[in-house]
Structures are given as C-alpha cells and as structure tokens.
Symmetry: C2
Subunit: 255 residues, 2 copies
C-alpha cells in the first residue's frame, strides 16, 4: 500500500512543488518529513507541478518507500496528518491521509483539477493579499466583467490549447489537447476570481488564460475573437502570463 | 490642516504600531514615508496602539509637520495614497486620505473601535491562516458556540473592565470603565470570529475576552458566572491572553 495525502501549502517561500537543484521545494520538505517519520527514504509523487510562488488549497501526493511500489507502516491513517505536520514547516499542512493500493498513481490517476486565480481590483493594494493575488488597480466595471466571462466561456470544451502554453518548461506534455469542463468568473467587491477545471493543464495555461481575460476586460481583445485566436494556436496572440502569486490549485479530483 | 489617513497593515513583521527603541514599527515606517514625501520631519499620530503581530484592516493616523499642529502641502488628497504607498513596505497600505482641521486628534476623537479575533478550529492547521488566526484544533460544537455567544453578551454595556486588563503596559489608562456597544460570535465552517465594538479598550482586553470565551466554550467556566466574575475585577479569574496573531483592528469610528 501507499500513503495518499491531501495537503495545502502557501507557495510564497517555495520554488514550486517539484524537487530541483536550486531552491527549496514542497516535495523536498515532504520527503524529509516522511523519511524522518517512517525511518526510511521515501519517494513522494505529486499530482501536479506548481510554479514557484503558486499556492495549493488541495494537492495530492503519494508516499512509497524509495525504489519500491509501496511502504509498510504501523502508523494509522488517522494519526499521519499530525505526525507529518509536526515535521513540516507551518506553511505546508497535511489535511488528511489514507492508504491506497500500490497501483494508484497520484498524477496519472487524476481525473481533473480545478484552479482559481485571484485578482485584487481595489484602487490601493491590500496587505492581506500580498503574494496572494494579482493587484490590478484600474477598475473593471460590470460590462468588462461580463465580457471577460464571455471570453472565459471560449475555453470550455476539448481543444488544442497550444496558444495557451509557454515554452521552456521541462515537461513531458505529449500534445496540447485538453478538455476544460468548467469555468467561472466572478467579482465580489474588489476581488475577481477566475476558476477553471480541466482534465489537464499545459505549462502556464491558467496564467495565460488569466492574462488573456484581463486583455479582454481592458478592451484590447474581443471575447468574440477568442475562439478563432485559440484555434490559430499562436501564443503571441494571447495575453501575458499572469503572475504566479495569484494562482491556487483549488482541488484535485480522482475517480 | 492635517492629513488623515486610513491605512491597513499586516502586523506580522512589526513590533506593533507605536515607535519603540527595539524593533521596527508601523509608525516608524509611516514617519519615514511622510518625511520623504513632504520633505520635512513629521509627527504621525495613531488612533490606537496595537501589539506586536496584531493586524489592522482599518487604522487611522494623522500627519503634521514635526512640532507643529498641521502641515502645508500642494499634493492633493486623492494623490496621497499612491504617493505614500510607493514609499511604504508592501505589508502597509494607505487606503484613503483626506485633510482635517488642526484640532482633529486621531486618538482622542475616536468614538469607537471594532476588533475582530479569528480562531481556526480545523483539525489541522491552515497554511493560509499562518500568523492570521489562533489555531485551536479541538472542535467547538454548536452548543459550545452558543455558550460562548452567551458569554460574550456579558461584556456588553458600561462596566469596569479591570478583570480584562493585563498589567505591564506603558499606558495612560486613567480608569478601567469602558462601554462595549456590540459583540458577535459566529462560526463559519471551521473559522470562529469574535467581534467587539467599544468606546475604548484596555491593554490586552480583546485578547483576554477571547481567552475567556474559549474557556467558556471548553466548559471550564460558565457563561452565567461571567457577569459576577467581571464585577469582581480579578484578572486571575479570567482566561489566558489569546495570541496576538488572531487579532484585527477592524474599523475605527469618528463622529
């Protein structure tokens, strides 16, 4: 059996999820905590990669003994969150734990993931949203929000999303076809929330979607042109990649 | 005329509002920003003191030229927030600015203030509430919340609040009589919010109220005993002083 954890983390202090040579990562912290708790080296497999500074409210990882398909432990699943949290920094939290079969794969078995992107649209910055939202002070009025909402609906469906992928990622993406099953864009006071759920995401996809919707809201691009521009597959016709700090992996869905 | 600012700050990095010899404070940062903007040394007067690590969503300060009752500036009130924000750290924000008569006093003219205290009652910690709420994992059920609510109502009215004051503060509190005009205690999911509005607060008063209500929720104290214990004026009969990080100055009210 493997351990399956649902975790949350504030991404500000981390160079993303995935272990890398330069910079502290969430995976590295989980590796250290698991090895300390179980008493042997572990393989920690995440449901996704997240960029430096991106947050997660719900992220899934599995833990197995290093080089094996599972692990043995006498610790009950109900005691694992507290035991691991005591060994993790405060900006990472294990929310729940369960045991899953060796065959379970944290990444390949994901059915869909939902992201949320937060834009703070107040005139002045909000100290409580520092590193947690993109501050765009020029106000989006109701008409702009409605236009952005229409733009967002163009993302729904099964498409080749090449136009919404940045190059330069060390990824194993075989193709750019993904299925977006849900989008929503809401404005609550001065906080704009863009949510998108899909069976998979390309490198920077949500952040480019966000930058593109901001261009739509600003009138630099028409929502009606989005389907055509998406189909053309040209990254340069889309908006800028929005900053990492506004992005949250909101929920991971398995079978 | 004086400048009146409404500001917000994340208190985590600061040794409270008030300038002090050891540690960086919010007032010091405002002093530096104002001197840099106006080109002369300034007196910055706050509506209140806040302890190290306490936050403010709405805090008022006035700015006058050092040693004078007001200041002269050609900068319009509408341009002041941005000009000052450019000179302040990101965890302090000027939300709005106006000009007030020299006679206005940021502290003595306060009619009332409202504080909010946040308790995170989830089983595991929430990384997004790190330094922003008090984590108490043992669940408060509906009956406990109702008992705490009844306890909170004992604070309402004009009372001598000596029992809810810690010693050791360098304050100029002449007496301990204050009038609490509003309290509320709500639980939304796993987040408990205690709000209290009064014409003034004693040293640690909201934090001791919170610690006392937690004792009520835990069954260590009966809500019905609170009026009698308050009247007895003995600090030792009240609960512990809750941690600073859960406390927010929520709103300052003037005439």
């Amino acid at each position: 059996m493997k351990v399956l954890l649902r975790i949350a983390y504030l991404g500000t202090a981390y160079h993303g999820y995935q272990v890398q040579p330069n910079g502290v990562t969430v995976q590295q912290k989980l590796n250290e905590a698991a090895a300390d708790l179980f008493g042997f080296d572990c393989d920690v497999t995440g449901c996704s990669r997240t960029d430096s500074g991106v947050h997660a409210r719900d992220f899934a990882v599995t833990i197995a003994e290093k080089g094996k398909t599972g692990l043995d432990t006498a610790i009950g699943a109900d005691r694992l969150p507290q035991a691991l949290n005591a060994r993790l920094p405060d900006d990472i939290a294990v929310l729940s734990a369960s045991f899953v079969p060796d065959a379970f794969h944290a990444r390949y078995d994901v059915k869909s993931k939902r992201y949320e992107y937060l834009i703070w649209n107040g005139r002045e910055r909000d100290p409580f949203l520092l590193d947690r939202a993109w501050h765009l002070p020029a106000p989006f009025d109701e008409a702009a929000i409605e236009e952005m909402r229409r733009g967002a609906s163009a993302f729904v469906g099964r498409h080749d999303f090449s136009a919404l992928r940045d190059s330069g990622a060390d990824t194993d993406e075989k193709d750019a076809v993904r299925e977006v099953c849900e989008v929503s864009l809401t404005k609550n006071g001065d906080l704009i929330s863009f949510r998108v759920r899909a069976d998979g995401f390309l490198y920077h996809m949500v952040r480019i979607m966000t930058g593109t919707l901001v261009d739509v809201g600003r009138g630099r691009m028409a929502a009606d042109d989005l389907p055509r521009l998406l189909a053309a597959g040209d990254r340069r016709r889309m908006g800028a990649t929005a900053p990492a700090a506004g992005l949250y992996l909101d929920r991971v869905f398995y079978e």
